[in-house]
């Protein structure tokens, strides 16, 4: 199939690899986008939630009477009120995961035990959001508090309180990656480095919060949910299972979606309670998360504690790495063990690691569930590996680029199979790429060799300048499949539908560009419907940097089938042999005979059917195709980042002055859009490294619930990012593409900290904890200065 489709690309129209301007933009720039909060339905009511004010406790009293009596209130509901509508006590979410000891599906509304600040306890429905919030304030709630687990290491101590009373302990899963001769590696080692790293919690912070509008039409017994989920088909599946409806009764549709970054892929409790009350009341109900709710109730991630040691030979070659990862899993298990497993497997990175043993302990805590946020665990694993390499380079007195060069997988070793076992039982295998060349290009682009001069110039101006380097890989394009269908109308317009979804990546442009390249039509004549369960029977959606790999190849195959069918039909219509025909610019013509031609519109019309007449040549009806592109193996993109950081030792302030990315995501469909993905992902990584810190006190109370307390990177603190590309096509799919949406985040923490340590190399600092805020860095600087003063 691959070679056949690769042949088909020879007939392409040169759009692949072009920076087409996006089809999405003009509407959005006019303010004419339709986001979920822009949907207004007749008779629509508005929901607000009573949320837990404490991290852990038992509900002692929940009196809804006064709230129910407020004018303008349509209903106030607790778990007990809605339970008769549901098939299960809890939301049926469990993702299959072998390591999980006990599945702790979240409750839609708290039954009796609250497990994190922000957990939904009651839903209020009213004529307006303001009245609904007034009523929330009238609910009489008394909670008997219980001790809270707020740290994954503390929570795994033998005498730790339990984060939930319905589990025997907090160790919800214990898994490992173990291969190679660990003990031999450490006993042969010439040098060992041992470090402990701690990464803190951060969030997705799409500027559009979560939200949905649910409407139940009793006349056709259909529930329609307009939702900004990243996975509409998954949401439909959960609603079908939770509400006991048939698949024909549930429709989930994406409007325009204002950013996702991971957590919108998780099915959150409000996504069940709002449809439930819409069914109960027989009226449309809207809920839009406000920013406080987003801080406390949208899934987050990145709290991990890594206690690691690395064994190296006398030349700095890796022999073995071992250690323990303690992962904050939050209060329930809606997402299996993917995050810490991604983190651990990505530690290996682009390097030859002969032996690896990591124990991965997932701790239940009284926090919102931890699920994927851009990078999905991988930045943490990459951070640990890259820091260990820098530490060893310093110890051996060799350059940071040199220790990496000695350990990088060589292009002749591709495809490179690691012994790491993946979710589907296969070995983690890097499909293509030239990692040494990638690092080399990054060093050249950054003028790494000339840095000493820049450092000296900065020093003369009283500034401390450092430079850092980090390499990484990312497994992208996770399967098992994605769908795409294409239909040419008799009008000549082309319609595409896909299970792929769009939160701003340019999914519509990507799909239209690929189809237009195959068919030789204007991308603007291609209309794309992503993320609509009516338009596509099956699909998965946006996660794991997957959509160009999965949906891109699905539409590529489907468009090629349409192309072949158009030629076959035209052969009948033109009474010509198919091999004498070519499809160019949306027209099938006889080669070398001008005027002897049929447009795609004419062909589509000819096989659209006339009552009672046979179709030409008994060709199957419709100039259309549907492809479910199946893939299991991951396509590994890779890259190298270099940045320069200026540090103010008096304040601990870090300013990034240069940032270079060399990125390889295989075949590039639209370079402008890939650059956009890399830029956004780098910004997210810069935020996680220097600014963003979701803080809690020891009782689990969030301390940072506004953008004045939780700092997102602004235009002013972002450096200009220079992006260079390599293109090592993936042999795993016909387009040769790899994902690009998360990879920019993965190396950012590692490269920034490398640069900061380099700027302060006279102090021999070791930065172990992220984010690196100015007070934290200042404390490290002062401690190092004090240590240096000692005789």
């Amino acid at each position: 199939m691959i070679s056949k489709l690769a042949d088909a690309r020879k007939g392409a129209h040169g759009l692949i690899g072009k920076s087409l301007r996006r089809l999405e933009d003009a509407r959005l720039l006019r303010g004419a986008g339709k986001f979920v909060d822009d949907i207004h339905l007749p008779g629509m009511l508005h929901a607000a939630f009573l949320r837990s004010p404490v991290a852990h406790g038992l509900i002692h009293k929940l009196d809804l009477a006064e709230a129910r009596a407020l004018p303008g209130i349509a209903g106030v509901y607790s778990w007990a009120d809605l339970r008769p509508r549901w098939q299960h006590d809890r939301m049926p979410l469990a993702l299959h995961a072998s390591g999980i000891k006990f599945d702790v599906d979240p409750f839609c509304l708290v039954k009796d035990e609250v497990c994190y600040v922000g957990e939904c306890i009651a839903i209020v429905v009213a004529d307006s959001r303001a009245i609904a919030e007034d009523a929330v304030a009238l609910i009489d709630l008394v909670i008997d508090p219980l001790p809270a687990v707020t740290d994954p290491c503390d929570g795994l101590m033998p005498d730790a309180p339990r984060a939930r009373l319905d589990t025997p302990d907090n160790l919800v899963a214990l898994t490992r990656i173990k291969y190679g001769d660990i003990d031999g590696g450490f006993s042969r080692a010439a040098h060992v480095v041992k470090e402990r790293y701690r990464l803190s919690k951060g969030g997705p912070h799409s500027i559009e919060t979560r939200g949905l509008v649910a409407r139940y039409d009793a006349r056709d017994e259909t529930l329609t949910v307009h939702s900004n989920t990243q996975m509409p088909h998954r949401a439909k599946q959960v609603l079908v299972a939770a509400l006991g409806l048939g698949e024909h009764q549930v429709v989930v549709v994406n409007p325009d979606v204002g950013g996702g970054f991971g957590p919108k892929a998780l099915f959150h409790p409000e996504e069940l309670s709002v449809p439930t009350v819409a069914m109960l009341l027989g009226k449309p109900v809207k809920w839009i998360e406000d920013r406080y709710e987003s801080f406390v109730s949208s899934a987050q991630e990145r709290v991990q504690d890594w206690d690691m040691e690395g064994a190296f030979d006398a030349n700095g070659r890796l022999l073995a790495i071992r250690g323990k990862l303690s992962h904050d899993h939050g209060s329930s298990t809606p997402y299996g063990i993917a995050l810490p497993y991604n983190a651990s497997s990505n530690l290996v990175g682009p390097y030859v690691l002969p032996a690896f043993h990591i124990e991965i302990a997932l701790c239940l805590t009284n926090m919102v569930p931890a699920t994927s946020t851009r990078g999905a665990g991988r930045p943490q694993g990459t951070f640990v590996m890259e820091r260990l390499l820098d530490r060893m380079a310093k110890k051996l007195g060799i350059a940071r680029e040199e220790i990496r060069s000695r350990n990088l997988i060589k292009p002749g070793q591709m495809p490179y199979s690691t012994p790491v076992v993946m979710r589907d039982g296969s070995h983690m295998t890097y499909d293509s790429g030239d990692y040494p060349e990638c690092q080399k290009r990054a060093l050249e682009a950054a003028d790494w060799a000339g840095f000493a001069t820049r450092r000296e110039a900065a020093r003369k101006n009283g500034k401390l300048l450092g430079i850092g380097l980090a390499n990484y890989v990312e497994g992208t394009g996770r399967g098992p499949f994605e769908s795409a269908s294409i239909r040419v109308g008799a009008s000549g317009k082309i319609m595409i539908a896909s299970g792929a979804t769009s939160q701003g990546q340019g999914t519509k442009t990507m799909l239209a560009q690929i189809a237009a390249d195959v068919l030789g039509v204007a991308p603007a004549d291609v209309h794309v419907v992503p993320g609509d369960t009516r338009a596509t029977p099956m699909g998965l959606g946006a996660y794991a940097s997957r959509q160009t790999v999965t949906a891109g190849n699905a539409i590529f195959a489907a468009a090629n089938e349409v192309r072949e069918k158009a030629i076959k039909t035209a052969a009948v219509m033109l009474e010509a042999a198919a091999h004498d025909l070519e499809l160019k610019d949306g027209v099938v013509r006889v080669k070398g005979v001008p005027g002897h031609r049929k447009t795609l519109a004419e062909i589509a019309h000819a096989i659209s059917g006339v009552p009672g007449f046979a179709l030409p040549g008994d060709i199957a009806p419709g100039l259309a195709s549907h492809v479910d592109f199946q893939i299991n193996a991951l396509a590994f993109c890779n890259g190298a980042h270099v940045c320069e950081a200026q540090v103010d030792p008096g304040t601990g302030h870090v300013k990034l002055t240069r940032y270079i990315v060399v990125h390889d995501c295989g075949t590039i469909i639209n370079p402008m859009m890939v650059d956009g993905q890399v830029l956004g992902a780098v910004a997210h990584g810069i935020g996680a490294t220097l600014f963003e810190w979701m803080r809690f006190d020891e009782t689990g109370q969030p301390q940072t619930v506004t953008y004045a307390d939780y700092l997102l990177p602004t235009a002013e603190v972002m450096p200009r990012v220079e992006i260079h590309h390599m293109e090592s096509p993936s042999p795993l799919n016909p387009l040769g593409v790899k994902g690009a949406a998360e990879s920019g985040t993965i190396a950012a923490p590692a490269v920034i900290i490398s640069a900061v340590e380099d700027a302060l190399r006279h102090l021999d600092l070791h930065i172990r904890d992220l984010p690196l805020t100015p007070p934290r860095l200042l404390a490290l600087i002062k401690r190092a200065q004090k240590a240096g003063e000692r005789p």
Partner: protein, 160 residues
């Protein structure tokens, strides 16, 4: 809940309405006038998605009450394209330089740049100053570079 009778000019059209005291300008624009291009991202005045111009000055419509807009002239994203529906130069540059991804922060960004362009009155501008001007608009998708480049291109174009 007390009500106020207000008269607000929005994109050159006068609107007379009765509004509750607690109604924000953002909610008034979005719900009462159905001008949903002004987006709400944080409701505490930091993200800038709800930025509109009030008497020519960029304002957080989430922090301003509708009643405070009485007698004032408000400009929103819906009023920025030309009468023929053509995008203005800033909007075109945002397409050209990939300054838009999800489009949620975009209306606020465009309003900020329109104000900046008027204030510059043809004076050229450097990158640091553009970044400072945009630092009140949070964007999670783009890393800002595309919108910065769009602004530099438009603001430094001949006849800007």
């Amino acid at each position: 809940m007390s009500a106020h009778d207000i008269c607000v000019s929005v994109n050159g059209v006068a609107h007379k309405r009765a509004v509750e005291s607690r109604t924000t300008l953002a909610d008034f624009l979005r719900h009462d006038l159905e001008l949903t291009g002004t987006h709400i991202g944080c409701e505490h005045g930091v993200c800038g998605a709800c930025t509109v111009l009030v008497d020519g000055l960029s304002s957080r419509s989430c922090l301003m009450l509708a009643a405070q807009a009485d007698g004032r002239a408000v400009e929103t994203i819906e009023g920025t394209a030309g009468n023929d529906g053509d995008l203005n130069a800033i909007q075109r540059a945002m397409i050209e330089h990939h300054g838009v991804q999800c489009g949620f922060c975009t209306p606020g960004v465009v309003m900020t740049l329109i104000e900046l362009r008027r204030n510059l009155n043809g004076r050229p501008i450097g990158e640091d100053e553009v970044r400072r001007a945009l630092s009140g608009n949070l964007c999670r998708c783009t890393g800002y570079q595309g919108m910065v480049d769009a602004a530099l291109a438009v603001l430094n174009a001949a006849g800007a």
